[in-house]
Symmetry: C2
Subunit: 355 residues, 2 copies
């Protein structure tokens, strides 16, 4: 994590507001040419199909402050809450707008996507409730897209099990879409996370759903498709998840049901593993890593902080910071991250490992 100046940070947010999600190579361009020049390039581009283009870059500081008042934070790649696994994507989100009390990185470390058709059947709803409820009850965060059908059933099952749930939107986090899910999205933001790479105010344009699906796929350790038609967003999510090495799972359904045609095809083509309950999902998610890596996805500094902690007794922050050669404030931030990840614990005399 290389710290950047606050003015470059505002430029980075402005660039993220101007570039359409799914555009590759921007981070490399910034590294080469610097924030100021890239922002100039983005601002000069015509406001066409490939540019969000709804925000004047001069307005960004005001928008960030306004959003902060409304409980929305923005995090950039390399910052503490930005999930490192998103960098598995060839086009990682340039910024994430986040609403909700949980830490996105810590939550995503133990998360699974449960996605599927908007036009689902009662069977699909029931299967989703069983699976997502079981996963949430087992402490897994349920990631989905906040849409009608399977997505909503997945979020609701997680909320019903008092488990964490993450809605990744294809519009701004302040845009209630679908409108009928206004209350559901508020509930998710109250106890879990609502997140989008699109700046506040962005509308859910058609191509943004596919771009959003790649974030769902990359954020979670695996994706379960419950019901999906042959050609569907959920099948596309599964394909993206496979491309970046995630576990892809599908729920078998009747061969006589069009709503299961996509899932059964994923199974037939061996893109997805068949799963029938949450314990099978968890076994596949954990089995995916030959050696358990509880700190997978943590930034390198956090891993070094973790490794400096004793398994018994405790070590003071100053001592840890000195060993890892970072400032005490940064050290405290990493310790906080390790704490929410369940890997470190605060004691009267300092910190120690708990993982």
């Amino acid at each position: 994590m290389s710290e950047i100046s606050s003015s470059d940070r505002m430029r980075a947010i402005a660039i993220a507001c101007l570039v359409e999600p799914g555009t590759a190579g921007i981070a490399e361009l910034i590294a080469e040419r610097g924030h100021e020049e890239v922002l100039g390039l983005c601002s000069a581009r015509p406001r066409g199909a490939h540019v969000a283009g709804r925000i004047d870059s001069d307005d960004v500081p005001r928008m960030v402050a306004e959003m902060s008042r409304r409980g929305v934070r923005v995090v950039l790649p390399g910052e503490t809450e930005y999930p490192g696994q998103l960098l598995d994507l060839p086009e990682p989100p340039l910024a994430l707008w986040i609403k909700g009390p949980l830490d996105l990185r810590a939550t995503a470390l133990r998360s699974v996507a449960v996605v599927g058709a908007r036009a689902c059947t009662p069977y699909g709803e029931r299967a989703t409730a069983q699976l997502a409820g079981g996963l949430a009850g087992d402490g897994w965060a349920v990631v989905s897209g906040g849409a009608f059908g399977i997505d909503a059933a997945a979020h609701r099952a997680a909320l019903g099990a008092d488990g964490p749930t993450v809605a990744v939107l294809a519009c701004g986090v302040d845009v209630a879409y679908p409108r009928a899910h206004d209350a559901l999205l508020c509930r998710i933001a109250d106890s879990g996370i609502v997140v989008s790479e699109l700046p506040p105010g962005s509308q859910p344009l058609k191509h943004r759903f596919l771009a959003r699906n790649r974030v769902i796929a990359a954020l979670s350790r695996g994706t379960v498709v419950v019901e999906a038609a042959r050609r569907s967003g959920a099948v596309a999510t599964a394909t993206r998840a496979l491309e970046i090495g995630r576990v892809v799972m599908a729920v078998p359904g009747p061969i006589t049901s069009m709503a299961s045609a996509g899932t059964n095809r994923l199974l037939h083509e061996q893109v997805a593993r068949a799963v029938t309950d949450s314990s099978e999902v968890v076994a596949l998610l954990l089995g995916d890593e030959p050696v358990p890596q509880p700190h997978a996805g943590l930034p390198a500094e956090a891993v070094r902080v973790l490794e400096s902690l004793p398994h018994s007794g405790a070590r003071r922050v100053e001592s840890v910071a000195q060993e890892v050669s970072i400032g005490e404030a940064a050290c405290l931030a990493y310790l906080g991250l390790l704490e929410v990840s369940g890997l470190a614990g605060r004691r009267a005399t300092g910190w120690r490992r708990t993982g």
Copy 2:
């Protein structure tokens, strides 16, 4: 195929009547000690759980003659109608009792087993009708066990499509079991094949179903399980089919249905490939062999006869027999086998290839 004397043939049939199906090593024992000694050993054994033991060996010629009058033939390993692929089993049937107008070996070359639960659901019946009907319509013989539920639906779908179907019984071919399937088994024997390794009169004892399942698995090029509970005969058939290198397929079903618990588990554990229609089944069956081997399963002599035939024109039987160094009667038998297999054709001046 080494020809044996007619008295040794009767002894071989008697041994098959005395040894319980699924017993390994009998062929090797006969090769080592001869028919007479092995028959003596079998006859001397107490008539316990592992011996069919219902037939006095002296009665065998009379029983064979009586069965022949009733349209039942008996074939032994190495004989023309005995399907060579059964020898993939560690305990191949010692004899097959066959009723019906089709040649078992030729029929089995292009066959697929469709099996499943007795206690199936309307979904299972519908899925079976779709799959088995499609396979039969495409010229594939449908092999099953003649039982209630999925088996019956498979046979009926094949009959309905005017396709060949083979019922492999766990009792004698003259025993109507289940009794309610008397008419169905008669219809199968009228146009297809009813077959059993158990001698006529044998009752369907519990352990004989598992032994029968291995014959279903070995006879066909692949096995499709439509609906099956977690622990079931159909799942056992699939496991046996996998062990001997057959294609194993399962029809996905609702995870909320106990009748699909076994099939979904086969999919989850990657024992079976998911299939949703007959074209997917056929693709997997044909794809199983990297290079198409139209004469797979034929005895070596038949392949040599086939290879001696011209692609155009025709060759006389005497000439073929001389080249292959077999008798003319045997040569004619092999030509007949090749004819029913669709590989050779009779012309005015002799025989030629048609495959």
